[in-house]
Symmetry: C2
Subunit: 318 residues, 2 copies
């Protein structure tokens, strides 16, 4: 059933024990939502426990350090920022088909829960903020920092396209009531691990330009992950880099997988369609960002990719 904010608040009032589940590979928005909701429930005198498929990155210590789980026996199951049950990771086996309430901000939500509240104007944490106010709970410092973390990380610190006037106004309210935004921004946006820095260096050394600088390609190999001590999921900043270069319309990163095959991430500007490029390599995605993979040799796959990119760029001139 699709429900609204008031019904969402009513469901929470009705129950006394809760399990709150974030999505796998947790980010700031799903964790901020989970821990802010847990704090709302604690203040309301209810029992709750937060669950996540994967280890919580240590940078979020200020959300996890003071949290102590309660014992729950017959809990009401809530997911936060989880568009699809598949994203519960290894929690799916335990909670799949049993979610009572899903609070989410993805229009792609699959409505797998008994009750679903989706609101796409803000980060998931923005919904939790409104829920707190609806429940008459004034967010304390801890809750404000959880919510700010979600909102700021979801929008790349108010830089991405999904930033809305509402996002900015909630952040303004949180800041006015008091948060350590210096601490949070430093941890979330201004800190690089040594291993990522090393991987970035190795990656940047592979940067090649093609087609008068309109295409830039970076290559990541398993040897580079090993040499730098970093993991594939850390490399977001590298995936974004080629397209950030002035004049580049198509940026691609070719990533060697553990089994020796290769993945491709393509990011494009303006009229160039990344999903059209990737669909010719048996992949797909969105207009500005898409992916594909190949199991032939690196040289062959790259030649094929360059060929497809050339066709896309040639299409611009017609």
């Amino acid at each position: 059933m699709v429900i609204d904010l008031k019904q969402c608040a009513a469901l929470i009032k009705e129950h006394n024990e809760f399990v709150i589940i974030s999505h796998e590979h947790p980010d700031g928005d799903t964790l901020g939502s989970a821990f802010a909701l847990a704090e709302i429930l604690r203040i309301m005198g209810k029992k709750r426990v937060v669950k996540c498929s994967d280890i919580i990155p240590k940078d979020f210590y200020y959300m996890t350090d003071s949290y102590i789980a309660d014992d729950v026996t017959d809990p009401f199951i809530i997911t936060v920022d989880v568009a699809d049950e598949k994203l519960l990771g290894n929690m799916a086996s335990l909670y799949g088909g049993r979610v009572d309430l899903c609070i989410d901000h993805h229009v792609s939500n699959t409505y797998y829960a008994k009750n679903t509240f989706v609101e796409d104007r803000a980060a998931a944490c923005g919904i939790i903020y409104e829920l707190a106010l609806e429940l008459g709970i004034e967010p304390n410092l801890y809750m404000r920092e959880c919510i700010y973390t979600g909102i700021s990380t979801d929008t790349g610190c108010f830089r991405y396209q999904n930033t809305t006037p509402q996002t900015l106004r909630i952040a303004a309210d949180l800041m006015e009531k008091g948060i350590d935004s210096k601490k949070i921004n430093k941890l979330m946006f201004e800190t690089k691990t040594k291993s990522l820095l090393h991987l970035e260096l190795l990656a940047r050394n592979t940067l090649e330009y093609y087609f008068d600088g309109r295409c830039a390609i970076i290559t990541l190999t398993q040897a580079m992950y090993k040499e730098s001590g970093s993991a594939e999921h850390e490399c977001y900043s590298i995936t974004a880099l080629p397209r950030q270069i002035e004049g580049v319309l198509v940026g691609a990163v070719i990533k060697e997988k553990e089994d020796g095959t290769f993945g491709i991430s393509v990011r494009t500007e303006g009229d160039i369609d990344a999903s059209a490029i990737c669909s010719k390599m048996n992949g797909g995605g969105h207009k500005g960002a898409a992916g594909a993979s190949f199991s032939c040799s690196y040289d062959e796959g790259k030649a094929q990719l360059l060929n497809v990119i050339k066709t896309a760029l040639d299409g611009l001139n017609q």
Copy 2:
């Protein structure tokens, strides 16, 4: 004379011809303020011309493209975002001692103008926004984009410590009324020139860690500027990098100058005082960011710097 917003508006109403001057090496805030103010004056039917000591970077084309200067004969002189007359650059010889009104947000303002309006709660552009409303001018798309540029660049897109609730609320208003924030954020925060990218790569290759990874040092040489085709003033991202590395408490960049001597930029975390470190090298600055220079050899100067940094780090353990 120190004046308030109403008096500021009154002075503008009283006059008909204006020169608006930005600071030298112009950034988004001074230019956004200058062009937004010019647009206010245009709408009010007044004549105005914008002046700047240095060339306006081409990324600001959306502010400059539609601007056409008027002829002015007996103008009222306004500076925007200029804390000190020295910052007028080569405009100082023409307008020094003659500024009628200074609109600024620096607490360090030297009150060189006949009338000064300083308000430190927001970017300089935030003041221009309030001035527009005070004058009864509803900001049009062009003016909104100028003001958003100033506010977002001044705060590192709402990431720096100077971000206030007011900053965020003005940005929310501008976004609600309509701006192309995607275009502006891409140009201001998501684009790297090829030459800077090349310089960053050369610089990262020089990265060295000292004292159990608590200190990181990068070296920039004249040969690197030449090889990459970049200029010294472009290297802000490099100056910030060493301190961004996880575990680093003191980040330093040693920069070879054209005359063969060296400058040092030091950034620190927590209790380490950058200005104390730099004062021992005959420099100075703030607690978190300071600078110094040396004219001995690179090896000697670096050894001296490392010695000072070691003392500062040792002081932490006592």
